[in-house]
Amino acid sequence: MLSKCRNEMTFQEWSLTPVTDFCALSPFDCDEPDLNDYFQNDCQAQQAELLNVTYALTPCGGPFFPTALISLSNDAIRREKLEDGLRPTVSYPSYPAVKIGRLGVHKEFQRDGIGTHLVNMVKTLFVTNNRTGCRFVTVDAYNQENVLNFYQKNGFDFLTDKDISKPTRAMFFDLIRVIIPGIK
């Protein structure tokens, strides 16, 4: 029997749940027009096409309020053949990953650790009780100093320098490194 709750998670009194009622996202405003546009207009259609799933982070208790939103999709880190002499870490040319397409925190609650808590929950979600293997978290991060600093603080690294002058930069985090108290 499928569980309705499988993709839900509660951690330190905050709940991460897949969005099903997109009208409930109307109070969300992260002060970034492109992100607001995405969460208000695009994510529902993309979810209907099974391209991603959007999750809302809300405090437990009290009325639903989308404090932070994140859209996740399946991804992979692929590499072409390595130069002779460099042995790959694993014998696959493609590593399974989950991609953070967009992440936003409501403007009233930024710089309070909510984005980091959300990333912590995603890391936890994908190293516990997974149906399939998932080795990395990837992100298409806005190429802005505060955004890149945020992901670096959360252990992400750049995949390439080729996108250094592009509007977004590809970053990754290796889930095999995660230590979750009480889990491993």
């Binding site: 207009n41 309070d112 909510i114 890391k123």
Partner: protein, 55 residues
């Protein structure tokens, strides 16, 4: 329509080497979740804000 999410690049040459090296080096370096000490206080503020919005 918002800016489309860019596909993750396929790594080649130096990028692929750097990636493999980083992954290998970091395997012995466990990463704890980053601490977020103000969650309880923020949750209370969010609940208050949500109630205000309902009125």
């Amino acid at each position: 329509m918002a800016r489309p999410v860019e596909p993750t690049p396929i790594l080649s040459g130096k990028d692929a080497e750097r990636f493999e090296t980083l992954v290998r080096e970091n395997q012995g370096k466990p990463a704890k979740l980053v601490e977020t000490p103000r969650l309880e206080e923020v949750a209370a503020r969010v609940r208050e804000h949500a109630l205000k919005m309902q009125k």
